[in-house]
């Protein structure tokens, strides 16, 4: 049996570090929000030859359309603008084709009105609150013990902070956007995190019921030793799947998959290293 709990301060330190850096980025840089949330137009154009950023910039200046964000990826350009009408969009395309002497194929063009965006934010918020409440209620029922539920929830909050914080870093440096898919990834992470914690807590509960001992710390270490291989193996299979998708899958879901990947890793980490030490601490406090 390995005494995992001995190093609990190291685990907490690692978590604090990751969350700290993430939150620093979150408050300093914030996010780039997708048009789903703030409205605007998003255009993906495929060109038939390479162009330089300065040439594109010049052509865009001529078009007098306010550009929020611009990215060139080989022959594909991505433009974020304020909300465009259909004819403005057509004009922009024609103007670019003329100025840059290229042929444009529209890969994707999206426009969302600002009202719709605001509404999506509210609805997504409501959905998240429902999901969190649902998980809370379920945990309390499933474990018939407040401490179990509380420990699992704290671990879930930990995972939430990790994903939210690190996504802001990705958002700042790689241009990932917060959209409805990101919210989906966060909610999936939460459910996954609870899933993993349940497997460990299930063991601890079993020992508490079947063996006449009161040493929670011993039981926790034993449960961790027995579930560690399973936890890692399980995560590995999901990580394999997600990694393959992130590296080779479609570009439109890349950041969604990366958010899920971060969620899977932190969800696996938090169950033994955050939820369990907290549970032990809570149970010991209760005994005193």
């Amino acid at each position: 049996m390995v005494n995992f709990l001995k190093y609990k301060f190291i685990y907490f330190f690692i978590s604090l570090l990751v969350i700290g850096v993430g939150l620093f980025s979150f408050f300093k840089w914030g996010y780039r929000y997708s048009i789903d949330f703030v409205g605007g137009s998003n255009l993906d154009y495929q060109l038939n030859k390479d162009i330089t950023e300065s040439a594109l910039q010049k052509a865009l200046n001529n078009s007098k359309i306010q550009i929020v964000y611009l990215k060139i990826d080989g022959k594909v350009i991505n433009l974020r603008t304020k909300e465009l009408e259909q004819n403005q969009e057509n004009n922009l395309k024609t103007a670019l084709e003329k100025d840059l002497k290229v042929k444009i194929t529209v890969l994707k063009s999206e426009t969302v009105g600002p009202i719709l965006g605001r509404e999506t934010i509210i609805k997504t918020g409501v959905a998240s609150i429902f999901a969190i409440l649902g998980i809370l209620i379920y945990m309390s029922i499933a474990f018939k013990g407040f401490n179990f539920a509380l420990a699992a929830i704290l671990a879930t909050v930990h995972d939430l902070l990790v994903v939210v914080g690190s996504y802001s870093i990705i958002s700042h440096f790689f241009g990932a956007e917060v959209d409805t898919m990101f919210v989906t990834a966060v909610l999936t992470t939460m459910s996954f995190s609870v899933h993993d914690t349940i497997v460990i807590f299930d063991k601890i509960r079993e020992y508490l019921q079947t063996e006449n001992q009161e040493n929670i710390e011993y039981f926790a270490n034993r449960a961790l030793t027995e579930t560690m291989v399973r936890s890692i193996n399980n995560s590995m299979t999901i990580v394999f799947m997600l990694l393959a998708l992130a590296l080779m899958g479609g570009s439109t879901i890349k950041f969604f998959i990366i958010a899920l990947l971060i969620g899977t890793v932190t969800g696996t980490y938090s169950s033994p290293f955050i939820a369990t030490p907290i549970l032990v601490w809570l149970e010991k406090r209760r005994k005193k």
Partner: protein
Amino acid sequence: MKRFLKIIFYLSLIALVIWIDMPEALRQKYKITSSLDFSLLGIKVRKTFKTSLGLDLKGGSHLVFEADTKNTKQEDLQDSLSSARDIIEKRVNFFGVSEPTVQTLKSGNNYRIAVDLPGIEKVDEAITLIGKTAQLTFREEKILDDKSASPTATLVETKLTGTHIKKASVDFNQQDGKPQVALSFNDEGAKLFGEITQRNVGKPLAIVVDNSLISAPTVQQAILDGNAVITGNFTVDEAKKLAISINSGALPLSIKLVEEKNIGPTLGANEVKKSVYAGGIGLSAVLIFMVLFYGKLGLIASLALIIYGLISYAIFRTIPVVLTLPGVAGFILSIGMAVDSNILIFERIKEELRKGREFDIAFRLGFGRAIDAIKDANITTLLVSFILFNPLNWEFLPQFGMVRGFALTLAIGVATSLFTGVVITKRLISMFYKVK
């Protein structure tokens, strides 16, 4: 005997699943049908199995219109909205896209109509046609001041309008072969048209659509059979559009475009190819990992996993679930989670074996213990997917297609994995692991 029946049952289940999953190309090669059509106890069963792809995968447009309900009475609102929906559906059908969907959404005090047009390319045209309010009127000449030396004539509206038209269709002029729009009136319309033509013989009768004069033929004689044609310099396409907008009539509410998403066909096809490829690589990695780590048990789990994948896919094709990119991701994630059930079971069995138990007993005990944890752990996933999918269409929750696609495939995946993880794996272990 019982064992024999069980084997028959599982074999036929596998055969059914394979038949449903069979790709279109193979079906054509071997001329295997993809639809069911038979009567069972008087109930007609008709079902075609196919994979339906979402807009993001096959390209197309997603449009959301907001209805202006200011001038509509509260009690008429539902009726106006659903008739607007029907009219838009008729107009959309003109574009000949496969499986368009038109649905009304309510959000607070806002009423919206969402239109999905898979595979459409000329989206501007579609937007114009959907929002168009074609108002057809017939106008006759009226002499204003017939006592003066030079009488001036003006066109005044008659009682006959587009609402009196039973059907408008495109046909071709017998003399010059040009396309024209043929109208047939309902009974009241036929009577009105008869009266109008009677009193206007030798005079022009103007046909006006949306305040623009389309044509003003001179009435040769009274027409009493309730049929008329609109001639003009139409192309076939224009004639078709006119016919469709007369047919569908005016929208009872005015609508405004608030969201538009267009995905070109090349992007989608590319994404599908990449994701399927990535899924294949990911799956192989998982299978290799399982075999390396768990040996013979891992092989069984891999087999169970493949069966799991086939069953889930068969369910997608049967319902049918519209597969979007996030949906594919949800499916792939659920494969990862399905492996988990197997790992849980194996670890438990190993644990019991370590305690020195016989394989049979360890197998039974381990299984029983693992099932509890599997059930508990999967409920939260189902809970979250329920909220994301929003099956009752509650307006305070998100109603977006992308998130729904993910939640649906994830939920089906998890539910299926409960079945395969528990039933199939157990069966496979007891089949192949007996002798040791």
